[in-house]
């Protein structure tokens, strides 16, 4: 409250929200997975050509019993004529697809918490970017001085492969990642604009992969061996493109990226092979925008994919490859996806139903957050819904399903 008084005293515009969230397992409603109260404060100001923005979360979660302050974003931007500069911690989103975004790999994701809105999994990243705009186009140079990986719920484990002969141990806390040295600076270039009714962008990124590969060492004793697996974040280059266009009331979009990993010929069992990932889809509203429909299809193709027999001559490599496939989900040469979005807004706008189903046809895995939203007054939102993921295969969706289970959630949010 003192912070708000301070902001008022200095006449700095601020806003934010107060929110309560509760998530409980459907199969055991007594078991809560999240019981959190949070307040977000957003401040913004403008002095001449300089703008500043900051958003901070103050969260108290009973499960686990923890309280923390999270700087969501804090940055300055300067704009004069056709030149622009932004510096600070910022969420950068690119791409035109919904939910599955092949090119959206700049800002890290945190999957260790639960949110009813998929956008909230994305976190800010320290960056500087220079923009140059001309007419309908603009170009951006991004510089990322620090590396932040995607966060997954990972626990160390040790498992026997051949009893008393070979075992595997995984130590997530010992991850190898680029340190804060200038030589590990990441960067990106993006050119975007529109011609007639088509928006497009081309993106090149030279970054460190936010998802880890593996590093492995073999510790031998007289009678047995242990393969020690450690997460290793490697460099990756991404060449991406996207478009969005409108025809006869439909919005069509596409997004694709080629990822050039350090294992260019696909012979390292512990490192991801180069791959291409593309999504195509469309959206339309009906009945005066009361009904919303959207659908997408996508494919991920892994170059030089090796089946499990390739590394069989080496037991160690074969075992490492098995674990690497499990961690980085490169277990099929081609993985096919589909999404379906349906929504309905009530005529007076006070309530709506919304749901997107993401389905992995190759692994038969799924992820969806259907929800009912009710707004009893301006800026007050009550949301109830389901957080469902699972399936029989090995994908991020089935892993999430195993980790958090099927959940029902309730959320009330007061925006100010």
């Amino acid at each position: 409250m003192n912070l708000m008084l301070l902001l008022l005293a200095f006449n700095i515009p601020f806003g934010g929200y107060l929110r309560f969230e509760s998530y409980a397992r459907i199969d055991s409603l007594k078991q809560y997975k999240k019981l959190a109260s949070s307040i977000q404060i957003k401040i913004s100001f403008e002095r001449g050509d300089v703008e500043g923005y900051g958003a901070f979360n103050f969260v108290y979660d009973r499960i686990p019993d923890s309280a923390y302050i999270e700087p969501v974003e804090a940055y300055f931007s300067y704009e004069r004529g056709f030149l622009g500069l932004t510096a600070g911690k910022r969420i950068i989103r690119i791409g035109t697809a919904d939910w599955l975004n092949p090119t959206d790999v700049i800002s890290p994701k945190d999957y260790t918490t639960l949110h009813s809105d998929i956008e909230e999994f994305t976190k800010g990243i320290e960056e500087m970017n220079f923009d140059l705009s001309f007419s309908n186009f603009y170009a951006s140079l991004y510089i990322f001085p620090a590396f932040t990986p995607n966060k997954y719920p990972m626990v160390p484990f040790s498992v026997g492969i051949i009893p008393n002969v070979l075992s595997v141990s995984f130590f997530p806390d010992s991850a190898i990642k680029p340190s804060y040295e200038v030589k590990y600076t990441q960067y990106g270039l993006r050119f975007q604009g529109y011609l007639s009714n088509i928006d497009f962008s081309l993106t090149y990124l030279s970054i460190y992969d936010r998802d880890f590969d593996l590093d492995y060492r073999v510790c031998r004793t007289a009678n047995s061996s242990t393969i020690v697996l450690i997460p290793h974040y490697n460099p990756v280059k991404m060449f991406g493109a996207d478009f969005s266009m409108t025809i006869s009331g439909w919005e069509f979009h596409g997004e694709g990226a080629y990822f050039k990993t350090i294992d260019e010929d696909g012979t390292d069992p512990a490192v991801k092979n180069p791959y291409i990932y593309a999504i195509l889809g469309g959206n339309k509203t009906f009945l005066d925008e009361k009904v919303k429909f959207g659908s997408q299809v996508g494919v991920k193709h892994i170059f030089d994919f090796k089946d499990s027999t390739y590394y069989e001559p080496s037991l160690i490599k074969s075992v490492v490859y098995g674990f690497a496939q499990k961690f980085n989900y490169q277990n099929h040469e081609n993985t096919y996806y589909g999404t379906l979005t349906l929504g309905y807004n009530s005529p007076d706008g006070s309530w709506s139903i919304d749901g997107t189903l993401v389905y992995d046809f190759t692994n038969n895995d799924y992820f969806t957050i259907p929800k009912l939203m009710y707004s009893p007054a301006d800026a007050v939102n009550i949301i109830a819904g389901l957080f469902l993921s699972g399936g029989k295969g090995s994908s991020p969706f089935s892993e999430m399903g195993k980790h958090v289970g099927k959940l029902a959630f309730f959320e009330i949010k007061f925006n100010f």
């Binding site: 929200y17 791409g95 603009y138 928006d199 969005s244 266009m245 005066d288 800026a379 925006n415």
Partner: protein, 264 residues
Amino acid sequence: MIKKIFWGKVFGVGALVGVLCIVQLLDAQDASKIMWRVHHRPKWRDMHAFMTLEIISPNGNKRIRKMESWSKTDPKTDETKMLILFLEPADIKGTKFLLHEHKNRDDDMWIYIPAIRKAKRIAASGKAGPFMGSDFSNYDIGGGEYEDWSYKLLKEENYDGAPCWVIEAIAKNKKVVKKSGYSKMIKWVRKDNYMVVRTDCYDRSGELFKRILTNKMEQIAGIWFETEMTAVKLENNRKSIMKFEKIQVNIGLPDRMFSLRALE
């Protein structure tokens, strides 16, 4: 004799029909001329204003949307670009809407939602759809195309004490009906300044369902402008009031204000 009477009657009826046709044609021409002047009123080069939109449900519940808007018209093409920034309610604060109007093709529209942090192109088919969830449609706000309608002068009468032409506008084809959401409109046009003070809107099946009223108008930099309008849905009496305040015109807004970069 009988023949003479017969031909005299035929001639008389023919002359009457002809006169009626000419009167109809003149009415149509007059109505078209009036509506041409309505659609081609002088415009400012650019405009900045604060807008308030009150949506009042039949039971009296009121929801208020506050926006800041900038617009600029290209004098060569007469095409307008518009940027709207939402200020209230708090849950949609920071949302931006960018419109590039086109005469020969669908308008380009983008929306920037702060939670997503990227601008998204949206389809223009929603012109008949509600403007910000209100009883105004996007078509009401955009004004529509003069060429899309056939006009007929119905009568002349005083409205709110001002002499007006009452003009019927009928959609020329199904495409216009689909785009606008209206099969017919009846407009009360003030004779002194060519401002539309009332529009009765007929739905796709020809039923009167909505009325748009101009509550206040002001002359700014020599140009008349509606500063307060009400749209009423007649079936349930739900209404929306749109007000413009702190209007600034011809202030030299730069083109880059209406670029994609300005959205993000």
